[in-house]
């Protein structure tokens, strides 16, 4: 059982983070990227061609993370692989004792820098979750047995900030039914939509079946904020938030302040099992934000215990 699974099962607060994309440089590059945030993070996501840009594969990076002594979450998206390739990567992950799997539909190829590529989407997100569970039950999709059956801690992603807002919790429930046990919530710059999702999830008891983990993005510049606002599918940045950064004397400090406000707001919602941090550049932003939020380093949380309620 992975640490992430054990902690979420015993309702311990977790911190996950996205490892910045890796394009080479071997194990040394992974260690370099990990260094500033390592003390605070329980598990690191190895992303799967984020925003439809090619990078080192999530399985290769997840193996690298294991080698670096930290726990990986392997993301898998449906955009670039058919069901056979997805099964191969799932079986390959199990082969290396990578248990945390996060299943995504994936941005379209048109969001990336190779928009001429063929989009695959042989499966969709909920089907990929069910596929992972099929393998965990000792079968490939064909029914051919896998012995020993792999163990996975299966997660999914949902976007509380994309229409139809009122349907998103039902879609998350479908993912729970398919086999997801944790749910990353997409970066959301409209706190009222995150609150609406988490409120509905709480009311319907969804949080009992799925560990809900909102994502917080730490940007550093006006250009970064503009990129997220205009180029990342499904993320709506209110004009006033963008204007706040554009007007600021110190855009980096303002971006940090916005991330802090959103994180505080997320922690104040019912049923939040942890936070997921995304920082596009290797920096100490995640450690700094955890400190400001009053979230202790991982080892300290493990020794002394920690409840997010202290932070608000």
């Amino acid at each position: 059982m992975s640490n992430l699974e054990r902690k979420l099962a015993s309702r311990e607060f977790v911190v996950t983070a996205e490892l910045p994309v890796i394009d080479g440089g071997g194990q040394a590059e992974i260690l370099r990227q990990l260094a500033p945030m390592r003390p605070f993070v329980d598990a690191f996501h190895a992303t799967d061609n984020p925003s439809a840009h090619a990078h080192c594969s999530p399985l290769a990076v997840a193996i690298g993370l294991l080698g670096a002594g930290v726990e990986p979450v392997m993301q898998l998206a449906c955009r670039d692989r058919n069901r056979l390739a997805l099964e191969a990567d799932l079986a390959g992950a199990a082969m290396h004792a990578i248990e945390n799997i996060c299943c995504l539909t994936g941005d379209d190829v048109t969001a990336g820098d190779e928009p001429e590529a063929r989009r695959v989407f042989d499966l969709d997100g909920p089907q990929l979750i069910a596929l992972a569970r099929t393998l965990a039950r000792g079968r490939y999709l064909s029914g051919r047995p896998i012995s020993p059956a792999p163990h996975y801690f299966i997660g999914a992603v949902e976007n509380p900030g994309a229409p139809p807002y009122e349907y998103r919790v039902r879609r998350a429930a479908m993912k729970a039914l398919a086999g997801a046990r944790f749910l990353q919530l997409q970066i959301c710059y409209r706190p009222e939509l995150l609150a609406r999702f988490l409120g509905a999830a709480y009311d319907t008891g969804l949080g009992e079946r799925l560990a809900l983990i909102p994502s917080i993005c730490i940007l550093r510049s006006v250009a970064g904020m503009r990129f997220v606002a205009t180029r990342v599918p499904g993320i709506e940045v209110p004009p006033e938030t963008l204007a706040r950064v554009e007007r600021a004397e110190d855009p980096e400090a303002e971006c940090f302040e916005i991330a802090y406000e959103l994180a505080r707001h997320a922690l104040a919602q019912p049923g939040v099992a942890g936070l997921h941090f995304i920082s596009f550049r290797q920096d100490a932003g995640i450690a700094k934000l955890c400190t400001r939020l009053g979230i202790p380093p991982r080892v300290e949380r493990e020794i002394n215990g920690y409840s997010a309620a202290i932070a608000i």
Binding site: R119, D122, D124, A130, R139, G143, A162, P164, E236
Partner: protein
Amino acid sequence: MTAPALLARAEHAVKGPVWGCQMCGQCVLHSTGLTCPMNCPKTLRNGPCGGVRADGNCEVKPEMRCVWLKAYERSERLPMWRGHIDHLRPPVDNRLKDTSSWFNLMTGRDRRPPAGWAANADVQP
């Protein structure tokens, strides 16, 4: 022309103009508010992706309303099959492309998911 092929031609003649049917051969229109999910550029069978724009339009085709947004709204208005949109639909059987889903419904061919998937029988709410 064989009977199944004739049926496929008739089905396309009816469902093409009305629902933009893409002849996947395993029709799920009843569970999607009579909205063909194969018109989603990602051909998603289980609800809207996270890329839906704030105005309700498609991530891939900004001028088009999200297929699944329409499916959700229409399924809420349908007098029957309302909860069916929440069912987990199995992966598409690509061998059925351009065959008649009417014929496949009669023979049960459209309800034969892979054996491993069938072992996931607890996926229906």
